[in-house]
Symmetry: C2
């Protein structure tokens, strides 16, 4: 069972993500971000690389793709909220998006 992030650990983990364009979702304990790419090839190329990491980390995003746009929501269902696994995947996604 993964534990949710709380207190100072949560604040410190989320601060750089919030500064990098992630936002707290409304209605549940999750973070969300929309990535925009130049075209579908870049958008889906990003998704393919994230998918491999997600499977490797055994932690998967909820995401929606419309052409060059990828909307992502991260939360940890078995923890009932945000955990360190979401922070790890969010950082990884930002790193992958930065090198298309």
């Amino acid at each position: 069972m993964t534990e949710t992030l709380t207190g100072d650990a949560r604040t410190q983990a989320l601060a750089p993500l919030l500064a990098a364009g992630w936002a707290l979702a409304e209605g549940w304990d999750a973070i969300e971000k929309t990535y925009e790419f130049r075209n579908f090839i870049e958008a889906f190329g990003f998704m393919a690389r994230v998918a491999l990491w997600a499977e490797k980390l055994d932690h998967h995003p909820e995401w929606r793709n419309v052409y060059c746009r990828v909307e992502v929501v991260l939360t940890t269902h078995d923890a009932g909220g945000l955990s360190a696994r979401d922070v790890e995947l969010a950082r990884r996604m930002d790193a992958l998006a930065a090198t298309p």
Copy 2:
């Protein structure tokens, strides 16, 4: 400019899709379907194959993935509704989903 499907051509094109689990979307002229796979690898494997076809056909789905589930909406934006291109992509998606 792609033309929307109308009249008998529309009825005949949509009938087999509606019988195969596609439904007309509410609020706009689009069709939607939810695919369920056994796991993320199969779900994203399906998406990867669809993505290659979508790029080849130059017609892209709006889709959302949560683990083993892929929710798809098809419409033709530059036509303002359903066109033969949606029917073609829907058939292709069903064929790909049938051979994971």
